[in-house]
Symmetry: C2
Subunit: 598 residues, 2 copies
Amino acid sequence: MTDFRPPVADLAYALKHVVGYDQVAELPGFEHADFDTVTEILEEVGSFMAEAVAPTNRAGDLEGARLNADGTVTTPTGFVEAYSAYVDAGWGSVPLPEEFGGGGFPRTVGLAIQELMMEANMAFSLAPLLTQGAIEALLHYGSDEQKQAWLPKMVTGEWAGTMNLTEPHAGSDVGALTTRAVKRPDGTYGITGQKIYITFGDHDLSRQIVHLVLARTPDAPAGTKGISCFIVPKYLMNDDGTLGERNGVHTLGVEHKMGIHGSPTCVLSYEDATGYLIGEENMGMRIMFVMMNSARLSVGTQGLAVAERAYQQSLEYATERIQGRAIGATQDSPIIDFPDVRRMLVTQKAYIAALRRMMLLNAVYVDISTHHPDAATRARADEIVGLLTPICKAFGTDLGNELTSLALQIHGGMGFIEETGAAQHYRDVRIAAIYEGTNGIQAADLVGRKLGVRGGASFLEFIGTMRELDGELAAAGDEFASIRTQLASGLDVLEQTTGWMLRTGAADPNSVLAGSSPYLRIWGLVVGGWLLAKSALAARDLDGDAIAESQLPLARFYAEQLLPAASGLVGAATGGSRDLFALDADALGDVTRRPARV
Amino acid sequence: MTDFRPPVADLAYALKHVVGYDQVAELPGFEHADFDTVTEILEEVGSFMAEAVAPTNRAGDLEGARLNADGTVTTPTGFVEAYSAYVDAGWGSVPLPEEFGGGGFPRTVGLAIQELMMEANMAFSLAPLLTQGAIEALLHYGSDEQKQAWLPKMVTGEWAGTMNLTEPHAGSDVGALTTRAVKRPDGTYGITGQKIYITFGDHDLSRQIVHLVLARTPDAPAGTKGISCFIVPKYLMNDDGTLGERNGVHTLGVEHKMGIHGSPTCVLSYEDATGYLIGEENMGMRIMFVMMNSARLSVGTQGLAVAERAYQQSLEYATERIQGRAIGATQDSPIIDFPDVRRMLVTQKAYIAALRRMMLLNAVYVDISTHHPDAATRARADEIVGLLTPICKAFGTDLGNELTSLALQIHGGMGFIEETGAAQHYRDVRIAAIYEGTNGIQAADLVGRKLGVRGGASFLEFIGTMRELDGELAAAGDEFASIRTQLASGLDVLEQTTGWMLRTGAADPNSVLAGSSPYLRIWGLVVGGWLLAKSALAARDLDGDAIAESQLPLARFYAEQLLPAASGLVGAATGGSRDLFALDADALGDVTRRPARV
């Protein structure tokens, strides 16, 4: 097992030189969040995560969370202590409003903190992550009274939160849920139904758990329009603010999963549990999207974070493992000296750098969209958040799978043996492409809801922004020539496929959806290449900076060797749906029917 | 869990109409192996695997093989019975020489049988697979006496075999092994050392296990030139042919792996165990390659086989899972009606069809290379086997990982829950890209040993053969137009990158190796596209054939949407090694050093 080395220097570099963090620090309300302060916080968070959280990662996998005979849930060894230390340190509250005890820092800083926590232990990080989603829903839609009642202890982390959406027959189709909410004379609701896949649905990290539960009132319209959102605490509250009796919510099971064993994924049963309506009836989907959108960027960051952790381990292994002799070597070589192993390492590093910059850029636009004084600037930032979020989520988690696979591969046979820990990363990260909206749902969101914004102008303007780098790349000389050429090609591909999507659009939505996943990947590849090019350009003025020195080789490798994959995806993005639907289910399954004339 | 439906019809179609099985049946010695007979055998094998072996797959994962306190190894519930039934049915002996009790069928048929067994239970299939590798080594290099002593019961499967190569510090670098073999006065050798990753190194499926062990005699030259190969049975044999006392080989441990839990991966300790030299001293590497080359094609087929099994499960799930409403639907839809789910299904099916045809083609050339009466034809077939084997192994197992991931993804959250079984396929198949030579080793083999055959003429001639399909595609009309165009583009890419590799060659071997993995993938993509095009052309004359009807849509989808990825890999294949080696290990790890000037 490798010690975790928090990538604070790269985070700081990306914030300062690539995604323009200074713009965020200038926003009203973030005056105290200047770059130097933020860097110091990240240094401290990094040390904390490395020392207090990262050591729990392995035990979390081996032991897993478990459901006890008495219906309680126990997290793996070390989780309770790590969580307690996390609450004491106050890291969870950094990006939350000062009004409720938070630090009032930007989302960008919150995301960087999350990245470091996810690197330390992805399973553990889900408890604070879900709490934060619940907090954001309450911040947006809770009454003042609800905010005062619930938020302060959720902000500190003393109380945890959850999101209860899924039911056995209502997954991607949230509107199919059937959990009932019946209004009582006292204004509360009785909530009855079964929810599945509830992350940290019960646990021993905090005494109180504040469930946010989607349910349907008796006369609600069908589908997503008839969903309401409720606060359903594990314990009812006494008037004096102490915990009262248990509410009617119970854990029926904890799933046996391929990864993130430390995170209890619960089946929860609500039996006339007391719930408090958030906002108004039938507003549930809007509230859910507040939780979801924030969570989607965080989940994309999980792909990045687990990839970073796995990469560090594979790099250490490649440096230490002696095997055979590289070309020109006079004695046996560490496997890092073999070109194909190098390819696997540099591929990881380049994609990780690109993803980190992409996630942070998305967060910067979140902050601008919520805090900029100019309404038009806020509106445009919000459009960009809408564009980047599904890309960050799906591209980030697809790469999470692919890069942890490279890290495992570098270990050879040891990678398949569980004691190495390389396999854990590969297993853990696999869920991230599924939850918070599968990556297919992200792609559908990109082409279905986001592409049409202002008739496509939102996307085309962003492409235009990326094209503006061309002049600077041209002026930067020969070292940047291939980056310039490849980025321009990538942008051409992106513009061409975007044009196809817009033209095909309403006339043939199935063909647009058919190409949505490869189209999203083209976006991810190009945005990544653009951000690495920016990163390499900025590095020219930073002699002696450890991170800066690696930016040009990384950007060039990405441009020459990874980015060209975008051109190979045009056929898939614009191939239409004909051949996808040419075979019916019988024909798709036909491997067994004896041929008629062979 | 889905019942396994053996893809016998597609195997038969591929044999008959794509890879030219009739040429094999015409070879001397294979007169009895006509296509109709073979198809009937495969039908029976398919039923056997579906009924007797496939039901053990899940228990194998859940229970795993275990090392008992007394040093014995127990396989999961049902394995002993399934193996016994397999031996009774005689399926393992079908492709082995009649002289030793086999059926005398071609390797092509043996590979099809292996595919069906691997689909039923990959972990289980490894016992017969390793036995077969040991048999082939003995067939090629054993003395007549050794063959008579060991082969008959190995051919029936009553005795199992293993391959003992790896040691803790000798993995990819086999030459680093240190197990000692000291010649005794009676001509036997005393074998002492420790071997790791020994698949089915001990078990309860057969009483006798025949280990083939690589070791080094005291005065042997260093490296691979000083390796010898020994037969080391678990039990010494009495003169009357009964099992005698235990030999000095013991199981120290069974690894805890990410997948194939049913297959005991053993650490074996040899303590002055009695070994019998195969061939002559220092011939071990040649013997190992006999085992390896055959095993590499089989391992490539594992990628295909587990993908097929996972695909069947995902197709059934997609057909049954109702969720949301597809465009134009008037009621809730099975998810197979959503274009992005279709993409995942058709991608699986198209790649699986391409891989099956590729594996069988490779096997056909194996048979031609060993049985054709004309020496020049044999020699050319042997070249093609040399070319196709690393491609089948690496491309097949890389796709095994990617396609089982798609199958898992289709299950949504259920895919991550172990009870579905989708995750097992993803975990099981992951080892196939690693063992029998990592996929990086395969790529190095492709460019290092195979590309240079006759100065590149071997590769260029094969490309020329693929180009010959162009005329037929042109004559086939509009329906084949895009297939023709895309295949021609793919072949151009392949020829261009092959030319670069040949030109770069000796002058810059690190750059050739740097591009070897993407180059191998280009080969895989293009050969797959060529074979599907052939398959679709053949289908035109087969009205009413269930398999034939799907070939054109599959070939067109592959050509338009998957094959273009080849062009996106040119940059990586020909990018050279500069940027891979631009960063040293410190710089690759530099995410933590505080930047100097931020």
